[in-house]
Amino acid sequence: MTAIAPGTVPKSSPRGSAARARMLRGLLPALSLALVLIAIAWLNPRAISYFGFNLMLNLAIPIALATIAQMFVIAGNELDLSIGTFVGFVGCVTATWLRDATLIGIVVLIGSIGVYALLGALIHLRNLPSIVVTLGMSFVWQGLAILVLPKPGGKAPDWLLAIMSFKPPYIPFPILAALLIAAVVHFGLMRTSYGVILRGSGGNAAALRRAGWSLLRTKVALFALTGLFGVLSGMALIGITTSADANIGNGYTLLSIAGVILGGGEFVGGRVSPIGAVLGALTLALAASPLLTFMHIPPDWQVAANGAILIIVLAARVLISRRER
């Protein structure tokens, strides 16, 4: 948002309290997850177990991957409204071609990442609004998904099923996977020099251009990464559900945006956090269904719970930011 709130002059405050507020703000995603976990533990202590987590966080892996995908475009000040139908498309390809004609499946999936990269180039070169382009693309992916798999069905490749039903000792697989995803993306985006450039393209594009970096390349890279994680998300989803449906990923568009924002990401300025995004995705996955079920709230209100959590966390963030100023 570029709104200049008139009259909000930064108050001078002791440096210590500002730093504390910033730390609190950084901890907010973890705090919201902890709060949801405590609520679940209080309502149903048996859920906090190896098998409980395996069940509750079952769908958290694809949601976390889709959230990371969304995070990359948001880091470049864009938005992807097609990620949900893209995940659905990938799911349909995974459940059909990837099993029956592995080579074609691989080519199609890599090609779809290429389409994402091209979209990034198109959006940059023609200076197009990403919202409209990706909204249009959401129809394309949905249509392709229906063409690949007209009726719900198909079957996940055996190796994918084996990976997704992996049962490591002590730590439930979804938690292990979430840790791995967060660590890899955190290292890549926050700790490497090109990661800084990628985030910089959202933070201060003009400065980056003057320093000699190609903004076209950063946008293509960010969109290609979104495509890559979208593919991973679709494959993970089919590894869990074992069969596909053209509409299987539709809810992921909004979930992924909500996850990024819950995780402390901002729409402008390249301010994103991979660890926060994964935590945000876990919070949404837990709050949407297990928590409501334990609270005996009808599933009608599942979507509302997501909206309410988003508003509560954002309100908390405003309260903290006010102290930060």
């Binding site: 249009g136 693309m137 394309v140």
Partner: protein
């Protein structure tokens, strides 16, 4: 010649040209059969896109990041509210329309409240609001009398000499919207905010009030649209507004309104609305499958946006 060039430079012209081309392609395919009926059908359906399109246009004109993603949920809830209040009785039509209008306006006002109080981008504010509205609608709409009163259903389907009355009324409404945009202080303020919010504020524009009015207006238009849709399709349901998220944004952009804000175009919304509806009719006439139709719709929208191009950012 000079006047011809002036007309050709109008950004809204191309949306009408596109609509005409699609229409000609379709009647060429059918050999002229159903050409008039197609226009009538296109006008009746385009009305719903145009109404929300105008609301979305005012919001988008406020500047980058301003967009109302809660319109589909808003339309869904307002259609249920309208049908519930009308309760199938002709005497309650006006009350029902007012209820839908109030419901939509309230949603718009809440949207702005979230944007203002939480200082979050409108996309996220309207998105979170739409999550909640959707649930309210699902829970409220369950087991509800959703049929419109016969008088209201007839009114929304009423045609005079092949021209839908609703379309005529919407033309009057869009002329009003164009006047409000170009000739009234409110419209000029919206444009000024979209061009440079800080300059507008320094020039004495009450930025907060104008933005509040704009979001409320957009919500109210979504509400009235929901009621009319429920009348036209003879029933309300939760998904009735789903297609209007893409449609409302697409008609604004295709119609020549700048996504960067500060430049709006009302006639283009009509052209783009007709274009989208005729496009769907064409693809249906050609008998393509649902999958191909979706792919082509998406590709054409992306193609049109690419051809129209984005504005170079003003520095």
């Amino acid at each position: 010649m000079a006047s011809l060039r002036m007309v050709l430079e109008k950004p809204w012209l191309w949306s009408f040209v596109g609509a005409l081309v699609v229409w000609l392609a379709t009647i060429a395919f059918t050999g002229g059969y159903g050409a008039g009926g197609m226009v009538t059908a296109a006008l009746s359906l385009a009305v719903f896109t145009v109404i929300v399109g105008v609301g979305q246009m005012f919001v988008i004109t406020l500047g980058p990041g301003n967009v109302d993603l809660s319109l589909p949920a808003n339309i869904g809830l307002a259609s249920a509210v309208a049908m519930k209040v009308m309760g199938g009785s002709d005497a309650m039509i006006v009350v029902g329309l007012l209820a839908a209008l109030a419901c939509g306006a309230a949603i718009g006002a809440i949207n702005y409240l979230l944007i203002r109080a939480l200082r979050i981008p409108p996309i996220i504010a309207t998105l979170s609001a739409s999550f909640i509205i959707q649930s309210v609608d699902i829970s409220y709409g369950r087991g509800l009398q959703i049929k419109p009163p016969p008088g209201f259903a007839d009114f929304t389907n009423w045609q005079v000499l092949g021209v839908p009355v609703l379309a005529m009324l919407t033309v009057v409404f869009t002329i009003g919207a164009a006047l409000a945009l170009q000739r009234m202080i409110y419209g000029r303020s919206v444009l000024a905010i979209g061009q440079n919010i800080r300059a507008a504020w320094l020039a004495g524009v009450n930025v907060g009030r104008i933005r509040f009015l704009t979001y409320t207006l957009c919500g109210a238009l979504g509400g009235i649209d929901g009621a009319l849709l429920a009348g036209y399709f003879r029933g309300a349901n939760v998904d009735i507004g789903n297609e209007y998220l893409l449609a409302s944004i697409a008609v604004v952009v295709i119609g020549g309104t700048s996504v960067a804000g500060g430049k709006a175009n009302v006639p283009g919304v009509w052209g783009a609305g007709l274009f989208l509806v005729l496009l769907l009719t064409m693809l249906n006439t050609f008998g393509v499958s649902a999958g191909v139709r979706l792919v082509l719709t998406g590709l054409i929208i992306v193609g049109v946006i690419t051809a129209a191009g984005g504005e170079k950012p003003v520095r």
